[in-house]
Structures are given as structure tokens and as C-alpha cells.
């Protein structure tokens, strides 16, 4: 058991260290003249500070730590307020050889230096918040069961228990089959992470966590590892030497199958990212309309629309969590399925 954990962690760290690139999920080149879309993009993208509100000229923001690792200077800790002008709170101030440009990306003044940006950005802080909420929910549930093993669950356990049973009985067991117990913890983890991340992202002032393509890519990579590390012989035979297919067709089918290994997690990644980000863009567009028209009537109508769309987004949040977990369970089920040999 320990050996398996060790193998898995080594494999994952090898993957991370050799294939890591800075996946910054925001476009680095955006026209400054686009003030209308700037408002929307500012709320969707990651950022080095957490901006809550602006009242006239006062910005209510939370500066976040900027952590940089470079070969020559080692680990450096700053606050994002160091990179801001003290009066206007605009970024672009150079501090110790680094500056944050207008697209919230950290650059070194000396272009030849390479560094790794390990900052606690808005999305990372949101990730930590989501983790705390999930830990509190699950640990309270566990305490509830320890105290009251045979009674009805009380408190947060009364929502966690039906969700856990739902994932186990409707998602894991039917799709994975007899080996479902091994994979249910993973499926529960991604289900709760995506559900809580989606729901918390809808709160005004929160960060767009699951609408960040780097986050969804990581989740899709986890599912990819879960399926392919547990693939049995039948699964790999179907990929590289599909049984019952004549050789000329096989030459076409095998590359398609190998590409199919990658398109499935890619679809998972894009589906979650697009669903959540598009929902946020629609809500923000309706609110932005109020400022474009600057009229009370549009304000009232927009607010009604925004409330309605927020309710739909709650549904979409839950559905996307379910769909991601369901598809992960289906792919894992295909990988571990025991076929009766025809």
C-alpha cells in the first residue's frame, strides 16, 4: 500500500517536473482600449491581488503574497502591494527587479533571467478556501458519525451523506462494477472539489476557480492518471491491437485510439472550464449592461435577469460536477472492465 503510494507520487512528480510549463490561464495580450470587456475579463482572470469593490476612488482589495523562485536568487517573498503605485494602486511599479504588467503577469526587468512564479494568486487563495470548506464539511460529518453511529445524521452530515451515497450508488457502482471501492474516494474528491468550487465561485466577490483552465486541466490529468495507471490487459489491447479488426483497418484505428486516450480528458477539461466561465461571463455582461446604458430601468431589468441566471448557474454548477465525476467513472470503468472473452 505504501509502496503503491510512493510509486504514484514519484510518477506524478516526474510528470510535474518534466512537463511543467507556466500555465497562466489568462491571455497576455489584450487591447487596453477595450474597457467594456476589460471589466468582464478582470473578474474572470486570475490576479495577484484580490479586488472586492471600488467605491469612487477607494479600492477594497486584499494584496496577496508574490513568491518567486529563480536559479540565482532562490526563493523570494513579496506582497503584491510592493508592485503597486501607492496612490493609484496601478500595477507596473518595479520592485527588486520584477514588475507586474497590466495583464497581471509577473515579469523580470532583466529579460534573460528565468524564474518560476509560485505566487499565492487569487485563484490559489480561493483554492485554499475551498479546501478549508471541504475539510470542515467532511471532518464534521466524520465527527457526527463517531458521536452518533446509529442515528440520523444531524448538521452538515445531513447534506454530505446523501451526496456521498449518490456518488457511490449512482456514479461509482454502476459504471465501475465490482472494483468500485478502490476508486470511490477519488470520485468523491473530485465531485466535492468541483461542486464546492463551482458554488463558491458564484458568490459575488469570489474568484473564478473552476473556470481557470489550469485547474480543470489538473483535474483532467488526475482522471487520466486514474484510468491509465489502472488499465488492465483488455483495455490496452483495445487501444493498440483492437481485437477482431483486419490489419489494413487496424493501421487507421490504432492512431485514432491513441489520440482518443488524450481527447477524453481534454474534453473533460474544456467542458468544465467553458461551462463555468461562460456562466460568469453572462452574469457579468448583464451587470455591465447597467453601466453601459446608465439607466434605472435597465438596472431593474438586468437585476431580475441576473438573479434568474444565477439560479440557472447553481444548477449548472451541480450538473457539471456530476458530469465530470460520471465521465471519470465511465473511463475508469472502461479501463478496469473484465471482459468475457468472445
Amino acid at each position: 500500500m505504501l509502496r503503491k503510494i510512493l510509486c504514484l507520487s514519484t510518477l506524478m512528480s516526474v510528470f510535474l517536473l518534466t512537463l511543467s510549463t507556466t500555465a497562466f490561464a489568462s491571455s497576455d495580450a489584450e487591447g487596453e482600449s477595450e474597457n467594456k470587456t476589460g471589466f468582464i475579463m478582470h473578474h474572470i482572470k486570475d490576479s495577484h491581488e484580490w479586488h472586492f469593490a471600488t467605491f469612487g476612488h477607494t479600492h477594497v482589495t486584499l494584496p496577496l503574497p508574490v513568491i518567486i523562485y529563480s536559479g540565482d536568487r532562490g526563493l523570494e517573498f513579496y506582497m503584491s502591494s510592493d508592485f503597486q503605485d501607492h496612490e493609484t494602486h496601478a500595477f507596473g511599479v518595479e520592485h527588486n527587479g520584477y514588475y507586474i504588467n497590466e495583464h497581471d503577469k509577473l515579469h523580470a526587468v532583466d529579460e534573460s533571467r528565468s524564474f518560476v512564479d509560485l505566487s499565492i494568486t487569487k485563484n490559489v487563495a480561493m483554492l485554499i478556501l475551498v479546501l478549508l470548506v471541504i475539510f470542515w464539511a467532511i471532518l464534521s460529518t466524520a465527527k457526527n458519525y463517531k458521536r452518533n453511529p446509529h442515528g440520523a445524521p444531524k448538521g452538515i452530515a445531513s447534506i454530505i451523506e446523501p451526496l456521498v451515497l449518490f456518488v457511490r450508488d449512482e456514479v461509482a457502482k454502476p459504471n465501475i462494477g465490482p472494483k468500485y471501492r478502490k476508486f470511490t474516494p477519488y470520485l468523491l474528491t473530485i465531485f466535492f472539489f468541483i461542486l464546492v468550487g463551482n458554488l463558491m465561485g458564484l458568490v459575488p466577490g469570489a474568484a473564478n476557480l473552476t473556470g481557470n483552465i489550469a485547474v480543470t486541466m489538473t483535474l483532467a490529468v488526475f482522471t487520466w492518471f486514474a484510468t491509465n495507471l489502472n488499465g488492465n490487459k483488455d483495455y490496452w489491447k483495445h487501444v493498440v491491437a483492437t481485437p477482431g479488426v483486419p490489419l489494413p483497418l487496424l493501421i487507421v484505428i490504432v492512431p485514432v485510439e491513441i489520440i482518443g486516450l488524450f481527447t477524453k480528458p481534454f474534453a473533460l477539461m474544456v467542458r468544465l472550464f467553458v461551462a463555468i466561465t461562460a456562466g460568469h461571463i453572462v452574469i457579468l455582461s448583464f451587470i455591465g449592461l447597467i453601466f453601459v446604458f446608465e439607466s434605472y430601468a435597465v438596472g431593474v431589468a438586468s437585476t431580475v435577469m441576473v438573479v434568474f441566471i444565477n439560479l440557472i448557474e447553481l444548477l449548472v454548477a451541480a450538473i457539471q460536477a456530476y458530469v465530470f465525476t460520471l465521465f471519470s467513472a465511465m473511463y475508469i470503468g472502461q479501463a478496469v472492465a473484465e471482459h468475457d472473452h468472445h
Binding site: 487591447g31 467542458r271 461551462a275 461571463i281 444548477l315
Partner: protein, 85 residues
Amino acid sequence: MLTSLLLSAGLALLGAGIGAGIVAIGAGLGIGRIGGQAMEGIARQPEAAGKIQTAMLIIAALIEVVSLFAVVVCLLIALNENITF
């Protein structure tokens, strides 16, 4: 040369706009079809209404996400900073 530049910028934005409209038609057709069949199923067998409704919502979410892929492409064209007037 300036007019040809403006023409291609205009064509790109036209493409983005028309694309988004066609995406809406596609999503509407797909989800409407699902909704219609779900209604029929519930009408035939009212006791299966819960299951049918759940399945309908899930498929509708999947179709909607495909339309959102296309909307993202249109947005990428429309908000491209290289298109200037």
C-alpha cells in the same frame, strides 16, 4: 490597402457574430428536441417522470456546453486586439 484591411477586420467580426447566432440555433434545436422527447416520455409514463427529468437535465447541460465551446471561439475572434478600426 486601408479599405482592404478594414474589410477583413469587418469580415472577421461578421463571422464571429453570425457564428454565435448559428450556435444559438444549434443549441436551441438540440435542447428543444431533448425537451420535447422528454415531455413525450413523461406523458406516456408519468411514474417515470423523475428519472426522465434527471436524464433530460444532464443531456441538456452537455449540449449546452458544446454550444459554449463555439461561443468561446466567437468571443476569441471578436475580442482579438489585432482587429482595430
